[in-house]
Structure formats: C-alpha cells, structure tokens
Symmetry: C2
Subunit: 346 residues, 2 copies
DNA sequence: TTTTTGTTTGCAAACGTTTGTAACGAAGCT
DNA sequence: AGCTTCGTTACAAACGTTTGCAAACAAAAA
C-alpha cells in the first residue's frame, strides 16, 4: 500500500488548509470522501477515515459552515427575537428577559444549536418577522415577548411552523406560546395581599402589554369577589423614569391604599425603596407583592413576597417545543403554573 | 414596450417566489440583473430596477442570506463568546454581563450587524476559539471576559485579527481589550472606605479572575500605604452559594474588620443583607463599597456606595474597535476610567 | 454609412460543501 | 469462467447568490 505522497504533503503545508479540497489533495482522495470521512460516515473505510481526521486535526482544518449550511439547507442556528414594541428601553435591560436569554443559551447549546440574537423595533421595520424567518439564516425562531405584535405574530405563524413565542396564552390563538399563567399569578398575589390585611389595592405597572393586563385582571377577579377596590397605576419599566413615577403614584394615593401588587420585581424593589423613603412600614402599613422572583427578590430588606415564574422551566419548554416543531410536529402551547413565594412584605 | 407576460406571472404566483431565479423569470430578466437590481446597483436601468424591487415586495421575496454570504465571503454577523472558565454558573446569570450583552446587541444592530451568542466551556472544548473564528459563520468576534483563557486568547489573537475582548489590560499583551481600569477602581474603593473611617478591611470575592485580582491589588496598594490591613475572602458568584459563604465570612471575621470592599455589586447587595441580618449598622459599624454600579445599587436601603463601570461606553468601545479591525486597522486597547459613586454605605 | 461611445443586459464561473449514482476491484457463488 | 455481491472510492450535480466580462443595442459623432 502506498503511503500518502510526502512531497505533495509538505509542498502544501505552508499554504493554509482551508477547504475540503485542500485536505483531499493532501490525503490523496476526492473531496467527497473527505466530506464523508469528517462526518464519520460509515461508507468510507475506517483506516482512511482516521487518516483524514488526523490530517484535519494536525492542520487545524475548519469546515466552512456557510457552504455546508447552503448545501444542507439548514444552519444549526436558532433565532431569538426581542421585539421592542411598547416601551423601547424596557426590555433590553429588564433582568427577567436577560435571565431567560441566559437559560435559552444554555438549553440551545445543550442541543447543538447556536443562538442568533436580534432586537427588533417593529415600528421602524414592518416585516421584521418575515425578514428573520425568510433569511435562511436560522432554522427556527424564538420570540421573547409578544409586546404589541400579537397580530403580526399570529399571521406569521400560519405560514411558518418552527416558531415558539414567550408570552401570554389566549383562547384560540394560532401561534405556539410558552408562558406563565399570568392571570392565576395575579389572583395569587391579590389573595396574599388581602390575607395579609390589605383592604384597598394598587396595581403598579403598565396594563398595556398582554402579560401585565392578565396579571391585573387576575388580581381584579379576586379583589372584586372580596369587595376590595383596586386601581391601576401605569409605570414605565425604564430605570430612569421608574423611581419618579412611583414616587408620584405614592404621593397621590398612599393614604387611600394599604396593599400594592407590582407587575414586576424590578418595580416592586423600586417601590419598596420609595415606601421606605416615605417612612411607610412594610408590611405593617403597606403590603407589597412582586412578580418574577428574580434573584434580587430575596436580597431586599425586608425580603420580597412575590409570584415566582420558573424561568429555567420556561426556557426548557421553549426549546423543547421548538425542536419538536423543527421535527415537523404540530405542538400545543405550554402554560406554566406560577407559585406564590411568601417572604416578608406581605 | 412589452409588459411582463401576465400569464407567466400568474402561472408562478401560486408557487412561492423563493429564489432570485424565480423572480428573474417573473420579471423577464436574468438572475444577475435581479441581483443587481435588489442591491440598488446603478448599472441596471432605473425603471427595471424599480419594477423588480416592486415585484420582490409584492411577492414577499427574501434573499437567501446563506448563499449570499457564501458568495461574498462575509456574513454580517459578529460572534459573542462567553467563556465559562473558572466558575461555570457564574457569568450567565451575572447581571453585569447580561447588561453588557444588551448594550452590545444595541450597538451592533445600530451598525447593521447581527449577533451570534455562544457560551463556551473551555475545559470541555479545547479549541473553542478556533471553531468560532474558523467556522465562516462570523465576520468577527467579541469575547466577554477573559476568564482563565488569557493564554489561549493571546495565541489566537496572533492569527485572527477581528477580535476584541472585554477584560483586564496587561502590560504588553497582544490581544485588543476593552475594560475598566480595575486597579484604579480598587484604589478608589479602598480610599473611600478608609476616608469613611475604616481601619481594617475585607475584600469580598474570588481573587482568581484577572479583573478581581486587579481590584484587590488596587485596594491593597492604598491599604498598604495607609497602614491598614486587608484580607481576601473568596466567594462564589453563584446565587445559591453566595449568601451562605458571606454569612460564614462575617461570622468568622466581623469582629476584626470595619470595612468591606465587595468585588461586585451583586456581592455587595448580598453582603448588605447579611450585615443587616447580623444587626451591624451600615455605615456606622461597617462600611461597604461595591463595584459595577448596577441599577439595583441605587435601590438598596441604604443605597450602595460603589465603583461605576460605564457599561454602555464599554459596549460602544468594543463594537467601535471591532469595526475598525474589520476594516483592517490594527487598533490599540481601550482602558476606561472607573468612577466612585458615593451613596450611603461608605 | 461607419465608427465611437455609453448604457443596459445576459452569460457563466465562482463560493465550499454534500450526496446520489456510477465505477472499480476483490471476493463469493454456481 | 461467468455471475452476483459487497466494500470502497470518484464523479458531478446541486444549494442560491454575486460579479467580471462580453454582448447587444441605441444614440451620438464622424
């Protein structure tokens, strides 16, 4: 048996081995064989396969993914879109979304997928969804937050299967969604506030986004049944406006209310500070419940009572459903149960 | 002039217009012309150009990026790698890195680049860097945090130009880095603690990672000059171990020290809680300074004195330098000045 | 009319893979 | 010896763009 031609090998050694063809020349076989060898295909003889893999390793050969993707018509990349609809500065700094993103990265990596992150501003870019799905750059799409794009997502879902959305579930919707049962979460929050002695409630947060609207509605359910009034106080999530707005709300209504349901832990923490600034004892004079159970919720003084969203489970659900859709399955939505975490603010 | 053949057009209308060739047939021109028309190339007649663009719009045509990328040998994608070296669970949930990531997404989007996120575990994957740079999937690379991969990054930088790293700058290093002057930050922190009356210091945090080591060293400089002792108390950043470890440190040393420099705001906030649990008044009995100035630093009670890193500026710097490197420039590193933010804990 | 110039288009060769099909020996069978 | 079968490899056609070059054509100049 002839050894691979040494002189040929060294004559190429200086010029980088970039393409599969370079490698083929080096190994004295055809490009097709190299491709199969690198893929571990059983069609190619075990000895040649090892030899080629060895050669690839020593020369630091890297397969060109672009070409591979084009040929195989798949990319191994999942797109993650964060639409910034109603409050442009909100989400990107919102630690809930960032934490979810982290878990998504974990989960996708685990399954051999890469993650392509794209922030989209729907008002500026009409067909952000079509651009992403049709670009050929991603095999599937995860959308974090419906924002105010429910209709557009709904429309896209009709034609584009491999898409899963984090958000709120609505009766009879078409697109596959994963999310917490926000309405139930709202009920739990209001129940706890009332059980802790509250007789008049404030909902702190915007009621425009679907998730928040559902939380408010859930709290409303319970409040109505208990004969307790509840008022909504819209507040931006942007860190620079939040404190002032909360202070304003408290200044106007602090006398009339004795329980606050914050749409988000971030809001709750800011609110807690505002309450302490006003000298209102928590939970004696004012009860407070948050939403999310971010890590910082346990770190406040007093520690925050809140409604827990299981972010890790959410990420697992998103990825699991997406993978099944990539395999052609037509999956149902997944609604996760929220959990009341009683600490010290209510 | 003949209008585009209507019967032909409708005969294709049902079958999706996927490729540039479909569109060419529809418009009665060659694929090359369509390509140029869509690119807005001045070579093609203005009228045909408009007609083709209109046609593309009405049929919802999307250029296949994969093919385009392969042909042009560029992708419009920047890779962002987060190496999880020394403390696997740390970084992904660490709000500093997440915030930086958010700003990076902003900044890259602004310049027309997409962002491909990849978490890498160096121990499991020897040549994570080469895989990323050589895959052909990204035009350039931003590495967030040197972790314990300084040498590997240094080595890769020799051959691969378009790479910028967030981290600590060391005398004479090869790779281009953007980061805060951690040593100076450490000095500022220690100065403030001592000015506030501290006479014996604790450094709360791991001293392994380069950034933290530099912060500790800076504090050490000042402490030594002032004749104040400082001890390092290694602490994990993982949220589930942090509180217990801090409580342990305090139990052992609380009597001997009266000032704490926490390597991170996250640590500082947890420490603040632990101090309050022990009934140690801040800042009367114990002074505390953090690092980062995360949004939550202003929300604690009392609000946290800390060393500010300008994350947004860091992100801008990273992207700016990367773009210049993509253009072939050989750029210098960028060291950002930290800033002391005096609130109420020291 | 012929030549020149300029504008607009088509042709075909890349980009670097993957994969169906054919080809080629060698071995096993009648 | 002829036939099939099997294991291994080479060949070539895709995948959907972009782009240098040549061709076609019209208008202007000679």
């Amino acid at each position: 048996m002839a050894m691979p031609d040494d002189s040929l090998e060294t004559s190429l050694a200086d010029g980088q081995v970039r393409t599969i063809t370079d490698l083929a020349r080096l190994a004295g076989v055809s490009p097709g064989t190299v491709s199969r060898a690198l893929a571990g295909n059983a069609l190619v003889n075990a000895r040649t396969r090892d030899r080629i893999q060895q050669l690839a390793r020593t020369h630091g050969f890297q397969l060109n993914q672009m070409a591979s993707n084009l040929r195989r018509q798949k990319t191994g990349v999942v797109g993650v879109a964060i639409p910034l609809g109603h409050d442009r500065r909100q989400q990107i700094s919102d630690s809930f979304f960032m934490t979810l993103l982290g878990h998504l990265a974990d989960e996708l990596t685990e399954h051999g997928y890469d993650l392509m992150l794209r922030r989209v501003i729907p008002d500026r870019d009409e067909d952000w969804l079509a651009r992403f799905t049709g670009s050929g750059m991603v095999d599937g799409l995860i959308v974090i937050g419906q924002s105010d794009q429910f209709d557009r997502i709904e429309e896209a879902a009709a034609a584009y299967l491999p898409m899963v959305v984090w958000g709120n579930h609505q009766q009879g919707q078409r697109h596959c969604v994963v999310g917490t049962d926000n309405r139930l979460g709202g009920r739990l929050a209001a129940q706890q506030l009332i059980a802790a002695g509250a007789t008049s409630l404030m909902f702190l947060g915007d009621t425009e986004p679907m998730e928040f609207a559902a939380r408010f509605a859930g709290a409303g359910d319970v409040a109505a049944r208990a004969g307790v009034p509840i008022m909504a106080c819209p507040t931006h999530l942007a860190i620079d406006r939040m404190p002032d707005e909360i202070a304003g709300h408290l200044a106007r209504h602090a006398g009339q209310i004795d329980g606050i349901f914050a749409a988000t832990d971030t809001l709750a923490v800011a609110c807690l500070k505002a309450l302490q600034d006003r000298g209102l004892a928590v939970p004696q004079r004012m009860r407070l419940v948050g939403f999310d159970d971010l890590p910082l919720a346990g770190q406040t003084v007093p520690p925050l009572t809140t409604i827990r969203q299981d972010i890790a489970a959410g990420a697992r659900g998103l990825v699991d459903l997406l993978l099944r859709r990539l395999a052609g399955e037509k999956t149902e939505s997944l609604v996760l149960p929220p959990e009341l975490v009683v600490r010290a603010t209510a």
